[in-house]
Amino acid sequence: MLPHRPSSSWSLALASVLCTSFAAAQAAPSPEAPPGSAAPGAGVDPSAPGGARPQLTKPPKLLQFVEAPFPESEKAAGAGASVVVEILISELGLVSDVRVIQTASPTFDAAALEAVRAFVFEPAEIDGKPAAIKIQYRYDFVLEQAPSAPTVLRGEVLQRGTGQPMAGVVVRLASGEQAITDAAGRFVFEGVAPGKQTLTLSGAELSALQTEETLAEGETLEVRYQVEPIQQAAPDDAPADDLEIVVLAPKLTRQVVATRMEAESARKVAGTQGDVLKIVENMPGVARAAVGSGDVVVWGAAPEDTRVYVDGVRVPALYHYGGLRSVVHSDLVQSVELVPGAYGPAHGRGLGGLVSVDTRDPADDRLHPSVQLDLLDASLAVSGPLSDHVRVSGSLRRSHLHDALSGAIEGDLEEYFPIPRYHDASLRLRYEPQQSEWVEAHGLLSRDSVTRSIGGADPLARRTEKREIGFDRVFMRYRREPGDGSRITVVPWLGRDENRLVGAFGGTPVELELDAALYGLRASWTAPLGAAVVLGAGFDLELVRASVRREGSVSAPPREGDARVFGQPPADQVNVDEWRASTGSAAPYLDTDIALFGGLLHVLPGIRLEPFFTAVNRRRPAESDTADIGAFSAELSIQPRLALRWSPSSVLSLKAAYGQNEQLPRPEDLSAVFGNPLLGTSRAAHYLAGAELDFSGALAVEATLFYSRSEDLAVRNPLPSPRVAQTLLGIGDGRAYGMQLLLRRDLADGWFGWLAYTLQKSERKDGPAAPWRLFDFDQTHVLTALLSYDFGAGFGAGTRLRVASGYPRTPVVGTYYDARRDQFEPVLGAKNTSRLPIFWQVDLRGSKRWDIGGTKLEAYLDIQNVTNRRNSEELAYGPDYSEARYIRGLPILPVLGATWEF
């Protein structure tokens, strides 16, 4: 809005005196004479000599108008005024005298008098001769608005990641008007109608993208859109791949709080060895995982309660066993997003957060093979077209760290530092008959194995462990975007999970074998309904058929909340069970985005209607000559979700969300011996509220308060004489609350970074009568600072700082000797009332890229723990628990690697 320009206007009381137009004043003549203004002849002295009544034969005519300045002191009031003056005009047409007869204010009066004195008239004539005359004149001061300036929408379209401008992008308004971005990526619309405008971005390499802007009258709105630099001519060092559009401003995300990271930035983070998905460990709301665990603990939820999806298909883990590598090759990852809670109704079955991995579309220009090698593993990846409509991408990776160490180490290092073996593979075929429609076939495979053997002659200290973990996924993806803003996606999938643990601890077997077949279907449809509503509907089905065998103590493997210490041998009371369990749900859902107040407020209600079922083949422990009796239970869950996002300005966004989730029991917990075949679902409700300041599209600050409450968690039966088949009960409660803060600078001008801090408390209650205690994975403070910079000429560097509270531990307050087993046992204090020391670590990364004959070779050196700090990762006790020492984390660890892309 432009400021109002002061102006003045005048009117002459005499009908014959006409206002003349004047440019500067732009004043309209007052059509009405003020009260008491003189009629023609008024002011003529009737007592003039001569006896005969003089007649006005010609009225005076204003020849020179002088504009009075609007008094500065009156502008603030924002109102005009009128001053009525009496003017004595001489026979020469000059102003002989002037006086105020109706005042407005001293300042208005003075301004009016000064102006009027400079007026020049054509003299009046009486009886045909020029004569002096008095007239009344009303001088109007009017504070007028300037006429509306044209409303302008201008902006730029940039490549996300590099910040390079994108030329040739068609930006179209709903009115049909369109602009094409220039070489600088800029576009402009002038004279846009005020109010909400729907824009569509499209181009040869872009899927149609719609967004909305709200413009006030006369406003010039500057916007910036960042899209992925994919299929166009690649910049110097960017692979010419096909990437997905990401809009930063305005965000079109359905999640109120989410942290998303593009692969291009994530792979440069220090301490991740170039593994894109390890960036998740550094996101706000995520606790630091203990070394060698690979756990993803989000907002105080158990690691197994956070769901991981790859292209919409659930996978059991984000990382290989031990957390050395993620399960998806980094070259095939487009982006990863973490939603810590209160996510939309399209997802469910998890009490914790949501990790979504989007893989990169196969390249369409030519085949791009690449090889990678470092201390941990070697891999091969390829991406490219097979024909005009068919593209392919795939990868193979195998670890060699174990083999290298087996040849180099004498002794039994694995007793203390088991090194997992892993390999993974993926294949993706894409058939795209037209730009708006494609179908894909995917395959994912991951395998881990680790073997450990501890102890020699001592039969009680002897410990063996062989663990094999793996999963396979095969799925199709079909997507159609008709161009009207709607999108249809259908993903049917099959899978298999396996988890085998075979071992013994001092003669007590510890065995768990799980084979599960999974079947899933995910279908969704979204479309705009008018200008203010986006409607989504979908269907999410997942069935699991598991065969499980377990042998050993109910206390091994331990569960969250067990009162125990590290290295404590399990009880020697053992059992065995073999069972089958089927669980599943089929959830239709509705998701809506309603834009109100010109898009300033978005209301996103959603609902997920989810019938769950659980079936087991045995509801009681097996007994000789007794037929098994199965069990089936079902329940209907209605899970409302609601999110609000209010943007009172282009910089500030306020948001709030609520979501209710339910989670099926794990097949491992449905044993009649080790668990409870009749366990129901667990529930959680997430609440969050936050604010985001987005200063430029590249720099943003986000603060979020969160609270989650979970119920009906499976915990050990606390009774001394539990009922049969009730080793576990769904009576546990949980709560977590805190805040997270993220200061983020997206990749632009060669550098990016963030500062993430989470302050939180997570607690559990092991039954209605039990007190609240700290959750095993509670971390009060978690701070991560990342910084990465591209120096040019192929050189890059980055650093990472992590600070985190230690995990809670249960203190040992005494010990006693078990003479039957010849071993000491700890007497434990209150659960989780002590903590491991605080952790901090600094990592560095340096890289150099060379262009060699059309290929790109990048070498990197990733140095973890550059200060060689001896962080305490665990507390280990001596055999009689009289002495304890900390198990230290990794010392300084340089990892040298290289990637060669052809």
């Binding site: 203390y416 073999e578 088949a725 078990d818 007497v827 006790y877």
Partner: protein, 325 residues
């Protein structure tokens, strides 16, 4: 060429060796050293009983010094441990004096106790009696040998309670009639193992050590002595003081299986340094174990104990005295 190839591996090796050194704490607890009165074992005779049987309890206490004998208080623990307790006994039994929790049997070098009629419900495979209309209670899980134990507590004054156990013969509640008949036919109650000989290799020759109260065995200061403890070989399906064979009901296979006890020896000494605290035969067929002991540099008597356990609650021991000079 080979030299150049091996170099990166050497670098990796040194790196990871440093990792291992960095990760593994060194705890120097020596469980074999006896420097104060210590209760090493609780001996039940017989070591396997049925409900309503009487059992004699005694204890091996080391480090008392010659001629002294602190009284030992023996109790049965009556509380069944909840499944949320990961240890071997309800923690209340370690501290409580309530009669609901502890059944005090008496004080002295040895006592006798009566196994309660419901012991197999509280600590065995028989399901606890439930209220009418209520589902049955959960049976206690057996140990890897198929055994169940009545918890026993023995307490030296001011030294805290030590946990032991008396093996319960509760039959096979989960098995069918044929299996029960076969089990009863073949089952032999456990017998406490006995150390037949404890020998030391001195000057290249094996010498049987004398009893603690008997002849002393001279050893030079700092001398490394190879020790050997042995027990008798047992024939199949016979009760004896060596590694017995026994039948166990395999709940997964649903049939009886033949097993052999896994014996091991725990060593203690008042001075010197034992190479291993606990030793099991390297081959299940062997009936002896070896250990190394380095005599102290100071002259004087050294008491040595070897405790033999059979994995089914049976225990035997031997005490010897060596003279460092």
């Amino acid at each position: 060429m080979n030299h150049r190839r091996s170099r990166p591996l050497a670098v990796v090796g040194s790196l990871v060796a440093s990792l291992a050194a960095a990760c593994v704490p060194e705890l120097e607890t020596d469980l074999s050293r006896i420097d104060q009165p210590t209760l090493l074992a609780i001996v039940a005779e017989p070591p396997e009983v049925e409900e309503g049987d009487t059992v004699a309890l005694s204890a091996l206490v080391a480090g008392l010094g010659e001629g002294s004998a602190d009284p030992i208080t023996y109790s049965f623990c009556r509380a069944r441990k909840p499944l949320s307790e990961l240890g071997p006994v309800d923690p209340a039994c370690l501290v409580s004096t309530s009669a609901d929790v502890i059944d005090v049997l008496g004080t002295g070098p040895a006592v006798t106790g009566l196994i309660e009629r419901e012991a197999c419900s509280a600590f065995g495979p028989r399901r606890p009696v439930s209220a009418p209309g209520q589902p049955a209670g959960r049976a206690v899980d057996a140990d890897p040998t198929g055994g169940f134990y009545q918890p026993v507590l023995a307490e030296l004054p001011g030294r805290g309670r030590v946990l032991g156990g008396v093996r319960l013969n509760c039959g096979l509640p989960g098995a069918n009639r044929d299996q029960v008949v076969l089990y009863n036919e073949r089952h032999r109650p456990n017998v406490n193992p006995r150390l037949e000989r404890v020998e030391a290799q001195l000057d290249g020759a094996w010498i049987e050590l004398g009893a603690a109260t008997g002849a002393t065995n001279p050893v030079g200061p700092g001398t490394e002595v190879l020790l050997r403890a042995g027990w008798i070989d047992c024939a199949q399906d016979t009760a004896c003081t060596g590694a017995e064979t026994y039948v166990r009901f395999d709940p997964e296979l649903g049939r009886l299986t033949d097993e052999t006890e896994s014996l091991f020896v725990t060593w203690y000494a008042t001075a010197g340094e034992l190479e291993s605290h606990r030793v099991a035969p390297t081959d299940p067929g062997l009936s002896s174990v070896e250990n190394r002991w380095i005599a102290p540099d100071e002259a004087g008597p050294v008491e040595l104990w070897a405790v033999l356990r059979d994995g089914r609650g049976g225990v035997g021991f031997a005490a010897h005295r060596l003279q460092v000079r």
